[in-house]
């Protein structure tokens, strides 16, 4: 009865948010603040990364700590297209996405036989293997990494030196693509199948769901989108080496942002990124220079607090506040 209407309202809110985000750089005190733009770009990038992870980790329930591998493959795709072959990044981005999806399917197939912590640790191991293999693989630049040459800036080369607006709109485009895909998946058969597999694999199978195919499909989409984010990351930083992109640290960020925001929900990754990334950047800006690791200590404690106090993530906090407001409103009315 209400179903379609509710979705419309939700989507309208999303569109409104996007419109605000799209207009943000036009406001002078935002575009004037270079660092502010940087933080906004990172928020959009990490929201997209988390959302990509959310497909397999949140909706499909397979908690992978291996996404930095796909992220890295995407980064190397773009990086090698520009640095090694001296071309435009676009072909590399596409190749990176396809390759990431293929690699994801190949390594996930045996991994999906593992459950719980065995799966998690297997994905740790895969990250370490890729990290170390890329460090010695001369073709991809090995430990030296790839440094971008100075070339013409602009959309064709997907890089800008002096301004952040170009990157910002690209990040926004990335965000729209990734969130759009997840939004579409969520309301279609595949989305329901993913959640069914998460909630009960045998049950889903009994209803005709090929759970292996669903998981592999979700992993492939997730990996391809992670690779897309990776290629943006390398275009943004103009350098790539294995510790930058293929590390457990990077993998943990995929998971943390999603889980702290609220996994398995469309808004969770954005919320997570909108809180964690500014926190990370600003604590570093305020305290990082002292050299005491104070920023990272605060960050660590914050993770602990959120995880044990609010397992549903920030979206849970918002829902709680909404509820308590409603309750308060209710009692107020009752009193009157």
């Amino acid at each position: 009865m209400m179903n379609t209407k509710v979705i419309d309202l939700k989507d309208a809110l999303w569109l409104l948010l996007l419109a605000v985000l799209a207009l943000l750089p036009l406001v002078p005190f935002v575009s004037g603040s270079f660092f502010g733009m940087h933080v906004l770009i990172l928020v959009l990038l990490f929201a997209s990364m988390a959302q990509a992870w959310n497909i397999i980790g949140g909706y499909c329930g397979q908690v992978s700590f291996g996404h930095s591998v796909f992220f890295g493959i995407g980064a190397y795709g773009a990086g090698m297209a520009v640095v090694t072959y001296g071309g435009l990044p676009w072909g590399g981005i596409l190749a990176g996405m396809v390759l990431a999806a293929v690699v994801a399917v190949i390594i996930s197939y045996p991994c999906f036989k593992l459950t719980g912590h065995y799966f998690a640790i297997a994905t740790f191991a895969i990250v370490e293997i890729f990290n170390r293999a890329f460090l010695v693989w001369e073709w991809v630049g090995g430990a030296l990494g790839l440094d971008y040459p100075v070339i013409e800036e602009g959309l064709a080369n997907l890089m800008w030196y002096e301004t952040k607006e170009g990157y910002y709109y690209c990040a926004l485009g990335l965000f729209v693509i990734v969130f759009g895909i997840v939004r579409w998946l969520e309301s279609h058969r595949f989305g329901y199948y993913m959640r069914a597999v998460r909630e009960g694999q045998e049950t889903a199978e009994s209803l005709g769901v090929n759970s292996t195919a669903v998981k592999l499909g979700a992993m492939a989409i997730s990996a391809a989108l992670a690779a897309l984010c990776g290629s943006f990351f390398v275009q943004y930083n103009l350098r790539v080496d294995p510790p930058m992109v293929m590390s457990l640290d990077m993998s943990m960020k995929f998971v943390l942002v999603t889980i702290l925001g609220g996994s398995g929900t469309l808004a969770g990754p954005l919320l997570g990124a909108a809180v964690l990334i500014p926190l990370q950047e600003y604590t570093r800006a305020f305290w990082g220079g002292l050299g005491g690791g104070v920023d990272l200590m605060i960050f660590g404690v914050l993770i602990i607090v959120i995880v044990i106090k609010e397992p549903a993530g920030i979206i849970g906090i918002l829902a709680g506040i909404g509820k308590s407001l409603a309750r308060r409103g209710g009692t107020a009315q009752g009193g009157a």
């Binding site: 279609h188 199978e205 209803l207």
Partner: protein
């Protein structure tokens, strides 16, 4: 022609033989009861048919095709769908969404699936719970959800695993009604029950398992008199006493 044929199916767990060369058939459009005391191997057999277990020997033939060892989802897609004795709701999804998962088997269109799901909810008296989280349903609701979900896949053979256990008389009657209605709409049913009362009035045929072997296969009326069945259910001593009792006539 039989819709489902079970031929000499054998399933072992280590030394334990859970199903020993069991054979029977389920005719199209009929209701077949599969009964037996606890540990008789009913659910194991169910799992063998629905693909959850791979039997060590024998064959399962559905609609003329050998489906032994096929994965569960493929068997479900062919039209043989089962429910679980221990209910398995997809907890963090709403009741409607649970049923939608089933409904998506025959269509990828959301609107069509929605219509079908609503229909199944209505059939199983779940419309009121539609937007509740499946994990929050009372146990009776969860049992009905199992059925609604299976039904939404548009099965030809619906295999129900103890859906009537624990229901009170009114609920039982409603459940039986639903089953009969399903049969009338052309669905073949295979119903596993631990208690006989539920299934006897509506079954066309009853298969009785005990200790992993089939001990009887007949129409309900004859099954209730079958000595081996009575023995299996009440134990050898009671079975003998019961037999003596009937022979002795007016002893008490």
């Amino acid at each position: 022609m039989a819709l489902l044929e079970v031929r000499e199916v054998t399933k072992k767990f280590g030394q334990l033989v859970a199903n020993d060369r069991i054979s029977f058939s389920v005719e199209e459009g009929s209701i077949v009861g599969l009964i037996g005391p606890n540990g008789a191997g009913k659910t194991t057999l169910f799992n063998c048919i629905s693909g959850l277990f791979k039997p060590e020997g024998g064959q399962v033939v559905f609609d003329g095709k050998d489906i032994t060892g096929e994965p569960p989802y493929r068997i479900a897609r062919m039209g043989a769908v089962r429910t679980f004795q221990v209910v398995r709701p997809l907890k963090d999804m709403s009741v409607l969404e649970n049923v939608l998962v089933g409904a998506f088997l025959r269509t990828s269109d959301r609107g069509e699936a929605l219509t079908r799901a609503e229909e199944c909810l209505r059939l199983c008296n779940l419309t009121a719970y539609r937007d509740r989280m499946a994990g929050d349903l009372p146990i009776g609701g969860k049992k009905r959800l199992e059925m609604a979900r299976a039904l939404a896949t548009g099965p030809r053979l619906l295999m129900l695993d103890e859906v009537m256990a624990g229901l009170n008389t009114t609920e039982l009657k409603a459940a039986l009604d639903v089953i009969l209605r399903l049969r009338d709409s052309g669905i073949t049913l295979m119903v596993v029950e631990h208690v006989m009362e539920g299934i006897m009035p509506i079954a066309d045929k009853v298969v009785v398992l005990d200790g992993g072997t089939k001990i009887a296969e007949d129409i309900p009326a004859r099954i209730v008199r079958d000595e081996r069945v009575i023995e299996a259910y009440l134990g050898a001593k009671y079975g003998r006493r019961l037999k003596n009792g009937t022979q002795g006539g007016s002893r008490d």
